[in-house]
């Protein structure tokens, strides 16, 4: 356990700076108010609607709904597919994070941006792309995966592997590799170094990433339906059906609560697994990264294989977008300047892209502001166990929006946000707010592992040496947390750009976002409409990758500050 000597787990004995508790309360207030108004209230109201019958609470629905064999199967499938997808994403994502964030090679930054590409593609487009490959007679037809559970797994991994690579990568990037080197010099085998030195330090980030993937997968909707051919219903698809088709609010409420229980259980397990916080020595990435060597071959191989897997549907998509009625060409891209054949759209696709970018900037700003405030608070270590538990609960509360059905939240908006001061039901601001709710957990999970890894003695030394608290915050927390904050902003932006569920629920026909327009186009017959939908998807992906590549550059550019 050579590595443990460098870590500090016991709370330091220095008295915390005065005002810590007040700061925690205030810093937590904003995120809590945000999640409270835009998540807890709408969801709570919606669930109550279903459970209150003639003014009295009626819990009879629980026994009835949960007693159906169908419900048990839905719960099993939901948990099963989400858990399996999380495990696969972690197993495949770690070697990729190593290659993209610990090694140094040409084109690395571009690859880091490219890995996010699947994450923003509209599910309906990816569904069509995947099924085109998997169907009988398709390129991967002989594998006979169409409509199987394995096909759902492939798609879930396709969408979510970036979460693991980026969340773990941004933590891993700054870890001091001298601990590993010391262990090697002292005679530890590479496996032993990995399990006893590296994994314990990465554990919080791995668990964070896995829990986000789990939440994303447990509420996955379009992917499950399209690739499973409607056979593999989940809690999410059932809530959608009960709410939008049958208005069976009682059944939907019971399932929403079930979903919440599953999510909270997962978050509790995750909080426990993240366990004690480990202080880490962090260094500039330039110091921790190195050129690839022979021992990296397996990780590089995994990266290449996964890259090929991710590229396949994307290449198919790009190829199809270049096919027009008159053969190969960029006709579909030129058409994006117009409103499609037979007046298919209300605005040109470029205008929709402009809307998307503007809204995504707002969403990113909101998510960063609230995520940063929340992360700074959660990263504190108050001595009172009660307060520490409260912080853990607060941490979990911010994650909940990922694990609860967008349908429940969306319908909840309609019945709650209709009174001043929150008369926002038809306001355009609700779109970036809804997107920020989805991006917030990613922001927190990217920043937090780094902030909690700060040895609290650094803050205390700074305080003892006379730094006022704001300087401690600036010179310690923000100086170290800067890189993950930028990484998180890129990720939040990507999430906002690609968000469809909540956005389509709220968007205005005259000011649609790009995913909404794509959905509209692919819902119309005709080769030119399909071509435009695919071209627009490629543009959406390219813009996202461009923005993230830019952020990566910015991130490296600011490294001189260290």
């Amino acid at each position: 356990m050579g590595g443990d000597r460098h870590t500090v787990t016991a709370p330091a004995r220095v008295r915390p700076a005065p005002g810590t508790i007040l700061a925690i309360v205030l810093g937590a207030g904003l995120p809590l108010a945000f999640v409270g108004v835009f998540f807890a209230w709408p969801v709570g109201a919606m669930v109550l609607r279903g459970l209150v019958e003639n003014g009295a609470l009626d819990l009879g629905g629980f026994g009835e709904v949960l007693g159906r064999p169908r419900t048990l199967r839905l719960i099993g499938l939901t948990v099963g597919q989400a858990a399996l997808a999380s495990v696969i994403c972690v197993v495949l994502g770690l070697p990729i994070a190593h290659v993209l964030y610990r090694l140094r090679f040409r084109g690395q930054r571009m690859l880091r941006a490219l890995i996010v590409l699947p994450f923003v593609l509209p599910t309906v487009v990816v569904g069509v792309a995947f099924r085109t490959l998997l169907r009988k007679g398709g390129l991967l037809g002989p594998l006979e995966l169409d409509g199987t559970f394995a096909a759902i797994m492939l798609a879930l991994v396709f969408f979510n592997i970036a979460v693991v690579v980026r969340t773990v990568g941004s933590t891993w990037e700054g870890l001091d590799s001298r601990q590993e080197e010391a262990a090697r010099v002292l005679g530890a085998s590479p496996q032993r170094v990995w399990w006893t030195v590296t994994v314990p330090r990465l554990a919080p980030a791995i668990v964070s990433a896995a829990s986000i993937v789990f939440l994303f997968c447990s509420t996955a909707f379009g992917v499950v339906l399209v690739l499973g051919g409607t056979r593999f219903g989940t809690i999410e698809t059932e809530i959608y059906l009960l709410t939008t088709q049958f208005l069976d609010l009682r059944g939907a409420s019971v399932l929403s609560i079930t979903q919440l229980v599953v999510v909270v259980a997962v978050l509790l397990v995750a909080a426990r697994a993240r366990g004690r916080r480990t202080a880490q020595r962090r260094v500039a990435a330039a110091q921790s990264s190195r050129r690839p060597r022979r021992g990296d071959a397996p990780a590089i191989l995994v990266t290449l294989l996964v890259a090929a897997f991710l590229a396949l549907p994307i290449v198919a998509l790009v190829a199809r977008s270049l096919r027009t009625a008159d053969g190969w060409g960029i006709g579909n891209y030129l058409a994006l300047g117009g409103t499609g054949s037979r007046n298919a759209l209300v605005v040109p696709v470029w205008a929709a892209l402009g809307n998307s970018l503007a809204i995504a900037v707002q969403a990113t700003a909101i998510a960063l502001l609230i995520g940063l405030a929340a992360s700074l608070v959660i990263s504190r270590r108050p001595r009172s166990p009660g307060l520490r538990r409260a912080l853990t609960g607060f941490d979990g509360a911010l994650m909940l929006p990922l694990g609860v059905s967008a349908v429940t939240v969306g319908f909840g908006f309609l019945i709650t946000l209709n009174q001043p001061p929150f008369d926002l039901r038809s306001s355009p601001i609700l779109i970036p707010i809804a997107q920020a709710l989805v991006a917030l957990p990613l922001v927190v999970r990217t920043i937090l592992p780094v902030l909690t890894g700060i040895d609290s003695r650094m803050r205390e030394s700074a305080a003892v040496l006379g730094s006022p608290p704001w300087r401690v915050l600036r010179d310690v927390d923000l100086a170290i947390g800067w890189r993950p904050v930028v990484a998180a902003s890129g990720f939040a932006f990507a999430v906002a750009l690609g968000e469809f569920g909540a956005t389509s629920f709220l968007s205005r026909p005259d000011r649609p976002t790009l995913p909404v327009v794509i959905f509209r186009l692919i819902g119309l017959p005709g080769g030119d409409n399909l071509g435009m939908a695919l071209a627009a998807s490629v543009v959406l992906a390219a813009v996202t990758v461009g923005v993230i590549a830019l952020v990566e550059r910015l991130r490296v550019g600011t490294m001189g500050a260290f």
């Binding site: 909101i366 609230i370 409409n529």
Partner: protein, 353 residues
Amino acid sequence: MQKRNTIIGLTLASALAIGLAGCGSTGSVSDDAQKLVLITHDSFNLSDGVLAEFSKQTGYEVEVQAAGDGGELVNKLVLTKDSPLGDVVFGIDNTFASLAVNEGVLEDYASKDLTAAEEQYLLPAGSGREQLTPIDNGDVCINVDHEWFADAGIEEPVTLDDLVKPEYKDLLVAPAANSSSPGLAFLLATVAAYGDDGWQDYWQQLVDNGVKIDAGWSDAYYVDFSGPSSEGDRPLVVSYASSPPFEVPEGSSVAPTGALLDTCFRQTEYAGVIAGTEHEEGAQKLVDFLFSVEVQNDIPESMYVFPVNALATLPEGWSDYARVAENPYVIEPAEIDENRKQWISEWAAIATP
């Protein structure tokens, strides 16, 4: 103490930012005396200037808000009954009309311009006729890939009965009735054709004959259908009667696909005044306007459905490729509403075991 100030500052700044962002919004539109909010489905579209014409005629501006398709739209109205989303709704179809009427989300008003010529689209008295004005209609029919059948040397199917014959094994793809609105329409066509007790058996035969069920229309049409803009190998797909014109190549007059007009279920879309509107007169005018010849003439090219107003004219080319079923399958909206859940559950058990 300064750390506290920093955090307070951060909090205030954030609150301010969000507050400011909030100010950019238009807030509640119903407060504005001259503005009408039209709640509609995601596919609503009219040519530029059509709604502006309404403003010019009446002085009311129209703000369009999408609220999802079919059931989602109606259920949103039901949920927000106490605090209506807008003044007029357009896009309630015959499969959800009864629900909307029974839940009392609509005022009593049907356009005064309706005539006997539109009788076929009107809902039964006491069951929607007083609240809903028909605006457009479209048929959900089996689409057929003419080329495929010509190449294979097999005769094209004509009726629902044909689809379960062995020569059409593994040739049909349909979107699911529980996740797609054309999918539900096709299920209703079979219910209308074979009766409340017979359709289950028919669907079992369809399943035995290899029907493929996809989650959504896009998936069925673009992945599994064999048409010219699709990738698949199944020459029969559940789609719309208005789909074939989209497949006609520019400059050509031969349609590569067609609709089987004996397999159609008719969907009619209605408009109505939302109960609780503060602009009853304006709302009624808007319903009238949607039924006016001006809008009705614009509907085909904007929303790919047929107008209901007998005085409306179809655009050039429509009569050639987009044909109307003479005897489409229909079921009374009240009956649909009563049985929807039961039918969909039974269907799911048969078609997606």
